[in-house]
């Protein structure tokens, strides 16, 4: 691992921790509902000490919105990515371990889901299920599991030919127990490399859905703040710029942390 890689990993982790701290302490840092009108509308950033980042056209505090939005974006991103990876692991392990017809069917389905444009699928799912935080998680999970499934399947195909798996078979363990307790742990390591990408992608999809108005209307989210800021793009561009910086920082920190985590594990493996 190069020095640069280590440095970016540290920077990424620091930003991520800061964002997590803001999200966890949102109620202490900015008490009250971030969707409440609290000040004069369209205050510029740094103009009023009570509203450090200004207010929007309805007099809502931008700083409060960003802090509470962190909660939504990070939670949805993490939970959706975790669910997607779980689905991918399940499908990949079954396909790789069972082989034959089951493998064929599962892989054709994986290919089909991967062929549908991911965002279109997520958009369709949310619009059919209804716009709530839980449904956004479900939609992202159902549309972004295929890469994990393919990776896990390839690893399972490799691992299941190893001697210790044969030993388990000879010892008479049940096939599914072998698949999930013996083969899967050996096949998980490359999945680590996908965590950062999957979480970052989930945050981006969540923000895009929110931008299009498909998010929980009772929760302030970064994407929804940008959509709201579009109306005053000419007079108050910061309403669009600030939440976007928050999204970019979140995705950047997650992918940097994920990359360096994967590199670290990979290095330890090779060593």
């Amino acid at each position: 691992m190069t020095g640069l890689m280590r440095a970016t990993g540290v920077v990424g982790a620091a930003i991520l921790l800061a964002l997590l701290a803001l999200a966890l302490a949102a109620d202490q840092i900015a008490p009250g509902d971030p969707l409440r009108m609290v000040g004069r509308p369209l205050l510029a950033p740094f103009a009023d000490a009570r509203f450090p980042l200004g207010t929007d056209q309805l007099g809502r505090d931008i700083w409060a919105g960003l802090v509470h939005g962190a909660r939504v974006s990070l939670t949805v991103g993490a939970v959706a990515a975790a669910a997607a990876i779980c689905v991918g692991i399940l499908v990949g392990t079954l396909a790789g371990f069972l082989g034959g017809l089951a493998d064929d069917v599962l892989m054709r389905v994986t290919e089909a889901v991967q062929t549908i444009p991911t965002f279109l699928l997520a958009l369709a799912l949310v619009s059919v299920l209804g716009a709530s935080a839980v449904n956004v998680v479900i939609a992202i999970a159902l549309s972004s599991w295929p890469p994990t499934a393919r990776l896990v399947r390839a690893e399972v195909l490799r691992v299941r030919t190893l001697d210790y798996v044969d030993a388990a078979r000879v010892a008479g363990r049940a096939p599914l127990a072998i698949a999930f307790l013996e083969v899967l742990p050996g096949a998980l390591q490359p999945v680590v490399a996908l965590i950062g990408i999957t979480v970052g992608e989930a945050i981006l999809v969540e923000s895009a859905l929110a931008f299009l108005g498909l998010s929980d209307p009772n929760l302030q989210s970064w994407g929804a703040m940008i959509a709201n800021g579009r109306a005053t793009l000419r007079v108050a561009p910061w309403l669009v710029i600030l939440p976007g910086i928050a999204i970019a920082l979140a995705v950047l920190s997650v992918s940097l942390t994920g990359d360096s985590l994967a590199a670290r594990l990979g290095a330890r493996r090779r060593a």
Binding site: T8, I116, F119, A122, L123, V128, G200, L212, R234, A248
Partner: protein, 331 residues
């Protein structure tokens, strides 16, 4: 033309399309409320009698199996149903919107592929240098930006502050241009959306190209070329960049779906009347038949783009024979 290869690829595409078609049917089934509810809500008129009559007419009162059969036979004859929001056949609505999206997507794929190859190639060639650092960091940051936000930033800068380019749309309204002027007008309108879409997906290609360049630089054939005393320019272009192109080309095909998905927000931001904006309109107006048609059409577009990219791959890599799929050669 490699007909056998094309035949095989089409054969591979059939199960994918069938599964997507079945999936779309069930997606429509789990939707709360149906097309009639949406239609009555949109027109703001009607009673229970009319609703029942319309449901009968649309075949919504049948059993699940019968409904599926109706859906499948209609699909087989390319009948995608009737759009509630536009009051026209879904196929017709999609056909009018598709060309713009294909133009947007095609240009964005070309631009991001070309930029990725150039920048990634440069970074890989000058590994560890200031150019490498600048390109890698820029790609990382671009990768983290949401496409719609980048588009809005571009609008703020180029359309609002500098006033160089139009805010949105695909042509000047009422300008009545023809010939070259009309083409230039379209190009001016597409510059920002294509640029935004291309930049959001650039990072992947930069990364891939850079890694493949480094791999090729350390390869035996590059060493052999150096030993023969070939000029550096030739080595970089022919022995390093050319083989490094292959994974990038494969990824261009694999990312076609992501590009099409990304065009939803980009078309919404730039008010481009394409398939992406249409899907947003279908969602906001609860036009489920239209949404289903867009999912099917989008999938078909991705399949076709992938086959085209595989054909291109075969031209670039002489090692690929008949029946071997480019995407399977490189995991």
């Amino acid at each position: 033309m490699p007909w056998r290869f094309l035949g095989r690829r089409l054969q591979q595409a059939v199960p994918v399309l069938l599964i997507v078609a079945v999936g779309v049917f069930f997606l429509l089934e789990i939707a709360e409320g149906d097309a009639v509810d949406a239609y009555l809500a949109a027109t703001g008129a009607g009673d229970a009698g009319l609703a029942a009559q319309l449901r009968e007419q649309y075949g919504l009162t049948d059993t699940l199996a019968t409904r599926f059969l109706t859906y499948a036979t209609r699909l087989a004859t390319l009948d995608l149903g009737h759009s509630v929001a536009f009051d026209r056949p879904v196929l017709e609505v999609i056909a009018t919107r598709l060309p713009v999206t294909l133009m947007l997507m095609g240009s964005a794929i070309l631009v991001s592929g070309a930029l990725g190859v150039i920048l990634g190639g440069l970074a890989g060639w000058r590994r560890g240098g200031p150019a490498d650092l600048t390109i890698t960091v820029t790609a990382l940051i671009l990768n983290a930006m949401p496409g719609f936000w980048l588009g809005l930033l571009a609008i703020i800068l180029f359309a609002v502050k500098l006033r160089w380019l139009p805010l949105g749309g695909i042509g000047s309204i009422g300008a009545d241009l023809s010939g070259l002027a009309a083409v230039l007008d379209t190009v001016r309108h597409l510059l920002l959306p294509v640029g935004t879409l291309a930049l959001t997906y650039l990072a992947l290609y930069v990364r891939l190209m850079r890694a493949a360049m480094i791999e090729a630089a350390d390869s035996g054939w590059t060493l052999a070329a150096r030993a023969r005393g070939l000029p550096e320019r030739g080595i970089v272009l022919r022995h390093m960049a050319r083989p490094a192109l292959l994974p990038v080309v494969t990824m261009l095909g694999l990312q076609a779906g992501a590009m099409l998905g990304g065009s939803v927000v980009i078309e919404t931001v730039f008010a481009i009347p394409g398939l992406g904006r249409l899907s947003f309109e279908a969602v906001t107006q609860r036009d489920l038949p239209l949404l289903a048609g867009i999912l099917l059409a989008g999938t078909l577009v991705v399949v076709v783009v992938n086959i085209l990219i595989d054909l291109l791959y075969r031209r670039l890599d002489p090692r690929v024979g008949d029946g071997v799929r480019a995407t399977e050669r490189r995991p």
